[in-house]
Symmetry: D2
Subunit: 431 residues, 4 copies
């Protein structure tokens, strides 16, 4: 472990060169964020502000972090999951773009225990942030529960995930939220892209790296048919799997059916599934009673934010032995003699076993993050008194971000003539 107080604690600084190349690779696939970096590194909108983040330390996050810094911010960062930090990227961030130590304050390494996890977050809170940037709301919850006095200095925050936003809204409704938070997740260019296309591909990528099994012909069970679950189901189908969806919401279940998926309760799915992925945001989705009814060799994993979707406590009770059969893949032999395989300890398989969402989708999600913090600072500087509630990014921003993205892909679209614009809301014409 390499540790320099007030600067970094990372696994191994010697990995920095590898990490730097990974970051460069990501930069080459994130044109929207790089364009915004270029623009705002001129005007330095974050000069004088401290942005503290708690979000998976991947190559894409590094591009966001270094963009925030390039635009004037002081940045302090921790990872938001014990298994999602890429140690080479963390090292590169600590040493900075030139490898000379002019990096950002970062506390993150792969394979932390719970104590270390919170220790890292707390170090970033020590910096007395101007704004907080969350993925799963751990940082903001920590501020609220352990360091509420810091909240008065915090202009606002942002949150990346469906799960996190859901909870922050509950908190705001209870009047417990201490500062305003932008629901970055709820921007169309985030949830309708990152959650669908990002989760879809990266979850399969994680499963393949951890198991290398054939997907074609498998009974592939997806728990939850929200945006993430739909993305996973769609891609599993695209690889030739026979997809089964479990749901608690009738409309979602019906959509799954009309998309060609089978729908059944988990109790039945457990008996026929070959591969299971949870994407619900809910706890105890796959329980002991389900594990025992699974077929020999079933593979089980989670791609939801928290590691609560699989009840591994129950599985450990049922198991007579366990061993790591290959990286990110633990074999449990149950007392009924059958073996099941749990990937990435039930943590998000796309980040723990693969590299998280592809750079191309994080490009847009993180452009929204940048814009959220720009909005917080600007509205603060304009003297606006924002309510302590969950805020939405303006819809025009989605068209702007998507427009830049299309342009960088070399794609053009049509525009309406004045006559057509007028027609759009004209209620005088008939059939």
């Amino acid at each position: 472990m390499d540790h320099k107080e007030g600067q970094y604690k990372v696994a191994d600084l010697s990995l920095a060169e590898e990490g730097r190349k990974r970051i460069e690779w990501a930069e080459s696939r994130m044109p929207v964020l790089m364009k915004l970096r270029e623009e705002y590194s001129q005007s330095q909108p974050f000069a004088g502000y401290k942005i503290t983040g708690c979000l998976h330390v991947t190559k894409e996050t590094a591009v966001l972090i270094e963009t925030l810094k390039a635009c004037g911010a002081e940045v302090a960062w921790s990872g938001c999951n014990p298994l999602s930090t890429n140690d080479s990227v963390a090292a590169a961030l600590a040493l900075g773009p030139n490898g000379d130590g002019d990096g950002v304050e970062i506390y993150a390494w792969y394979g932390q225990d719970t104590e270390a996890f919170y220790w890292c977050i707390d170090r970033t809170i020590d910096t007395t942030p101007s704004t907080t940037l969350d993925d799963g709301a751990d940082l903001i919850f920590r501020v609220h529960s352990q360091f509420p006095e810091k909240a008065q200095d915090i202009i606002g925050g942002s949150e990346e995930t469906t799960t996190g936003v859901h909870r922050l809204r509950a908190m705001a409704e209870d009047g417990k939220l201490l500062y305003p938070v932008y629901a970055v997740n709820d921007a169309e260019t985030k949830w309708d892209f990152d959650n669908v296309y990002g989760t879809g591909q990266s979850t399969l990528d994680g499963i393949l790296r951890a198991s290398s099994v054939l997907l074609a012909g498998k009974n592939f069970v997806v728990a939850g048919y929200g945006h993430c679950g739909r993305g996973v189901a769609m891609r599993a189908k695209g690889m030739g799997a026979n997809v089964i969806v479990t749901e608690i919401k009738a409309t979602a279940a019906l959509k799954a059916t009309l998309d060609g998926m089978r729908v059944m309760p988990m109790e039945e799915a457990a008996k026929v599934g070959d591969i299971f992925v949870t994407a619900t945001g809910m706890k105890d989705v796959v329980r002991g009673e389900h594990f025992v009814s699974m077929k020999e060799g079933a593979i089980v994993c989670n791609t939801g934010h928290y590691d609560v979707e699989l009840d591994l406590v129950a599985l450990n009770d049922i198991a007579v032995s366990k061993r790591t059969i290959r990286e990110d893949n633990v074999e449990y032999t149950m007392d009924n003699g059958r073996k099941v395989y749990v990937l990435a300890d039930g943590r998000l398989v796309n980040l723990a076993a693969a590299e998280g969402h592809p750079s191309e989708v994080m490009d847009m999600s993180f452009a929204n993050q940048l814009q959220a913090h720009l909005a917080l600072i600007r509205r603060h500087e304009a003297g606006e008194d924002l309510p302590n509630t969950v805020l939405d990014l303006p819809e025009e921003l989605d068209q702007e971000i998507a427009g830049i993205k299309l342009e960088t892909m070399g794609l053009a679209i049509d525009t309406l003539s004045d006559e057509q614009v007028a027609y759009a809301t004209d209620y005088s014409a008939g059939t």
Copy 2:
């Protein structure tokens, strides 16, 4: 033409038996609406009310109409498109379920001119409706522009389409709406099913009946990637076509790209397309300049509500001759010597050349229509003074409708335990 004043004007009453069987076929595929019919035919909630509708006279609409009647309403009806009436269904409606003349007041036949179209609507307004039910807002616009005095007796209305709701919202914003209208289109169990899966299948069905060309390997251009356009694109891809999308909205264009479609402006698409479908709600989407650049043999049609998406005036100017090559398919020979084929005169190809959306999706859309009129009557009877604005149906209704649908399909889903319900909004737990 068979005409009995104050009762019906339809093409040919002798088609009633064929129409009755079509209606029975539809009933067997619409379990949700039939279940509601059973329930409310007991309580007669519409007793004493007149429901006037203007909506495609198809076998599915007949099931809705006869359900409204069974639940106590007096019904008067016209078709909402000159080419979408099924004459056998109209005859069956006129004569009633037993063929004895105890039918509903109906004015509709296939192939009307504009004058007849409005004549039919006006006859239904003559009945002094309690509520209006629209698909494309022609009836409600007619009330507003020609019979505003009738509005004071009207409790409220409902609207079925994206296009119609869009316009009614503009009208309400301008303070021009004379009574409240439920946006049935905006119910999730309508727009996220009917618009996607219904339009997707029925549009291809219409194209095949009118042309019988091979879809596999064709450059299939879809203008508009909203819910309808996405449905069409998805199904065209499912039939082996190579789909090209044109859009004016960056986010929609980007989604099309990530769904594996090509995106380009119509100017370019016009040159490479084999088949064109418009699904935009906008006028002049395919214009003269596009027709002239099309390949020999291109097929062009529209699946949007109004017949304004293809500029056929411009095409007629360019054309040196035209002839009907087969039903619903007109061959235009342009002055550049090339031929293009326009289906269903640019009117919605799924209704004019095929049978409109399958019964199974209309089942849910029309369950929403029934619920909208139930809500209008109930709130009226409860003495509620609704604002003259566009109203949304409650979200719980979607889960109820989808739940019944799943049940009738023999599908079960999971339910949350109390502990899980509590977890959903718990912000005290962390990673």
Copy 3:
């Protein structure tokens, strides 16, 4: 019925104009055959020969027939299925391209009984053919069983279907075949296109025209996963159906599984299917025991050549009543109270309820037919003594036909350099 001895017997000559336009529509979609027509109408290779055909009288077949005639042949034709004749096309063929009566000898109408079916074939045999052209081998079987004396004048024949070729090979093996027959079906540009993409689309088209049900979300059972069955399954999946395959061959079943389909015996599939299509070439695939276990409202049809795949005799025994609920769709109420719907009387649903394969695929199949008869005549004129066996068309022909097709679609491919050609078979180079 319009009948002129020795010239035609068709349903209604007044339909000729409509039929002529249909044929013109088909011509515009069959560039390969039209190119061959142009080429060989110069050299008149068939001058002096009589080609007798027994093949579905569709608009595409008309293009083949008129091409044969344009290249010098005298043609006599009958339909190869009682429900597949398009009466307008038959009328147009009888009256000829100019409508002046200079047509071909044709005996075909929609809705024949068995006696009429054979009467028509026999009239074409009366002409003492030089070659026979079959689809399902009815003509050639009739020659063998009823008019064996005609065989000595017959140079050879051709056969269009998998089923027919299968039987002719059995016949040849038994030494019963009286003249050589080209297995047109076995040309790659026939079986790997027509059978897959043609059957796939046209079968769904037939089902939709006869039922208009939603395919998305349906349990869609395909019996047989040969080329035809795979095409149907692929397209049903593309429309959002959940496809179940029944098979008797392990390799085919396994492929279905890896293509994302479910595999089970018909006994189980019968209980869960919503729609059934047989594509096996085998008899009694769906039997009485299957019908009785079907769900209320199940739809059953066949797309195989003969009408033996559904055991309708058994169904009629079980049924307490039956009625035609809509065109090509008969409702059987079984003694268990449930209703099932049989499309097109169990005859090929794509031809009886829709228009058969799209012109674009028949273009290649019929180019092969033309080439087969050219080969028969040329080899005969060259004095070759062909054995009485089933012959394959040369593989180069496939590349030639596909090459023309690509060219007419505006598509280019690569060619190998001399160095690359040499490399292809070089076994001196290593890793």
Copy 4:
């Protein structure tokens, strides 16, 4: 490097435990081969014979090798590609199942140079094999070119790949083949499964591990639409890519079109592609002229057997600099300033950057290998004098292997009744 003369030369014996677990993982996914192992380890058919193999040293190959040994063979092995050996698996093979050194003779490590590559093969030839087992024909070519005197002791061989079989057939035609070889590739349960579903998934897996880019929305160019190319194209499409196919064969190009792919020459594809995969078996498919016309950031790789499909010599000439940006991914900066990325040095990306085909498909391919060597030994022992030519495995074997596979997947199929069997070849029945 760990080296024990006459026993093994592998990278690192200490990796054996990890390798052993990998092999166990593969065993759990290869039920067909394991069933054959169980059966033949009783009868020891290979007792007294030496089987020498040259095939990618993966976990699946290890299951084959240890099955051959369990059935009595003495085995000597080398890898058939410099980048495809898994070092942990090689170590485990060297030390044997119990880790006590009772392994097989093996010479293989990741990252060999050409000299070492042949040295390894030559060591296995030193053992004077009874049969040879090839993947790409390097071993058999080496016997023919360097050790022809060994051929007289060799009963026969087998070959795994399309490319290898193609060359061996050329060799046999020239009368140069010194012993008979079973074309394992040509078994339906090999080429129609492994080549399609195996290559499809594993190629994408390799690309993702080496690049982690988003596939959705990418222009994904596949050179070659044979079985391998079709598998890659199908899966790329399933992940949301927009697939472009280049071909030299008209029928294959046309199929690609009807499967919804775009077809164009490489010259055009080079300009628009984002990702390129070659699967042709041909050399110089992507040439210097293509690299220079590529877009900034293009990713190029090969999944064909030999590393000749990309002309990297030409690329090196054009490049002004190159560096490894991440594992298996080299960045070339060309003199036009643009960068392209070549994965796995142009060697098969699925084996070099991922783990090769999933165990589930190798299960069938290797069952065929086992059967091929059983057939060679049995026919030899029966005194048959096989010609020095390329032999096909019997078709019944495919049904047997697929049947076992289905059974282990818990899937049942139908069987024909006697009456149905009789019907299949009955040519007396008509329409």
